[in-house]
């Protein structure tokens, strides 16, 4: 399942995509994110299964413009901590 969480700012519309089929729920991304945007929970869109996946927390969904913005790659900024931390390449950004 591909979960796309989007936001719009002055420079365009962006999406953070989590490919939950690849997610092993290891939680490395949760640890790596400096702003607490991610969490591992029971798959919210598949309530009949017991599989756990990483998601953008409910509280952050409407404000990732502010919380993910600081990690947006610009000159001299290191690669995104969440993407670097994930061993399965679950996380992608449309930047």
């Amino acid at each position: 399942m591909k979960a796309n969480y989007g936001y719009k700012d002055g420079s365009g519309e962006f999406f953070i995509t989590l490919d939950t089929d690849r997610c092993t729920a290891c939680g490395d991304c949760v640890e790596a994110c400096p702003y607490g945007v991610l969490e591992v929970v029971d798959d919210p869109v598949d309530p009949l299964s017991d599989v756990q996946v990483a998601v953008v927390t409910e509280a952050e969904r409407k404000k990732i413009k502010y919380t993910c913005g600081p990690c947006k790659p610009v000159v001299d900024r290191p690669p995104l901590p969440c993407m670097t931390a994930c061993p399965e390449d679950v996380i992608a950004h449309s930047w």
């Binding site: 399942m1 591909k2 936001y7 919210p44 869109v45 409407k62």
Partner: protein, 295 residues
């Protein structure tokens, strides 16, 4: 004297409840309920062994638990059923964690996908949920399971609440704005922002310039359609395609989305606003079955 637009509530859409008189719920094995407490409207759907038995659709008040109860009570009205007869309740929507009698809260994305699968059948592949305060594009498989979804951080921009504000501004009833927006000879340029606050002030300016109400509405519906088509195209649209939520009833927006996509949306067979609660009730049934099996 000028008509006092403040005393009339043009935004007020018709609340409704419905019941299938041919179903004897007492003979049913599993009675499951889905309650969708949205930002603008709340619905309760009652299923008897997976068949649609009754529903209600009303406005959400300032108090989520109360709205859930009101919707539940209205759906139960005249059925002779009480809350004790219900086996499993699922809460969904904005206020889903505040549904007092729900055993489980499930996200509206999962519920709309499941509800749309029930409403339109297994051929449905793309669902656009245009709710009161946000919209979501969802791809589903033939069982109604979510394959992909896309949401954004937007507020009331280009959604049901925005349309209500426009109905009030122009003094045209919410049920007529869609139809009226189609009464233009050619499409005007769209308003430059779907943000309700900006769009409203832009619309006031256009009215002052002498634009007829039809043209202003067309400009707004067009902007709203354009915005969600952007979302849909990013996710990829595959037929069959359907629109759930309140805006699914607005022909001015729906027809413009169809035109821009080059794809027709399936005609609704049920009230598009109940899709979330319906999906919730279907999950409630499945969860009750699962619980009974494991006993």
């Amino acid at each position: 004297m000028a008509e006092d637009t403040n005393s009339k509530e043009y935004w007020r859409w018709t609340e409704s409840n419905w019941r299938d008189p041919d179903i004897d719920w007492k003979a049913g094995e599993i009675i499951s309920v889905g309650i969708d407490v949205g930002s603008v409207s709340s619905q309760a759907v009652i299923l008897v062994d997976g068949k649609l038995y009754a529903y209600s659709n009303m406005r959400t008040g300032s108090d989520s638990p109360k709205s859930a109860e009101n919707a539940m009570d209205w759906a139960l009205e005249g059925t002779g059923m009480t809350q004790d007869d219900i086996h499993y309740v699922v809460g969904t929507g904005y206020g889903r964690v505040n549904v007092p009698f729900a055993k489980r809260a499930i996200t509206e994305i999962a519920c709309h996908a499941r509800g749309a699968n029930f409403m339109y059948g297994p051929t449905i592949k793309t669902v656009l949920d245009m709710g009161g305060q946000d919209c979501k594009a969802i791809r589903v498989d033939q069982k109604g399971k979510v394959v992909a979804f896309l949401m954004n951080d937007k507020c009331a921009a280009g959604t049901g609440r925005g349309m209500e504000v426009f109905a009030n501004l122009l003094g045209i009833h919410i049920t007529e704005v869609g139809e009226m927006s189609l009464r233009v000879e050619e499409e005007p340029p769209m308003v430059s922002s779907t943000c309700v606050v900006f769009a409203k002030s832009e619309a006031s300016g256009l009215l002052r310039e002498g634009w007829p109400k039809e043209k202003v509405l067309a400009a707004y519906c067009l902007a709203m359609a354009h915005r969600v088509v952007d979302l849909l195209e990013r996710l990829g649209v595959e037929e069959d395609f359907a629109i759930t939520g309140g805006i699914g009833k607005n022909v001015g927006v729906v027809s413009r989305i169809e035109k821009e996509l080059g794809i027709k949306a399936l005609k609704p067979t049920l009230d598009t606003q109940i899709a979330g609660a319906l999906g919730g009730a279907l999950f409630a049934r499945a969860l009750e079955q699962k619980g009974r099996k494991s006993k």
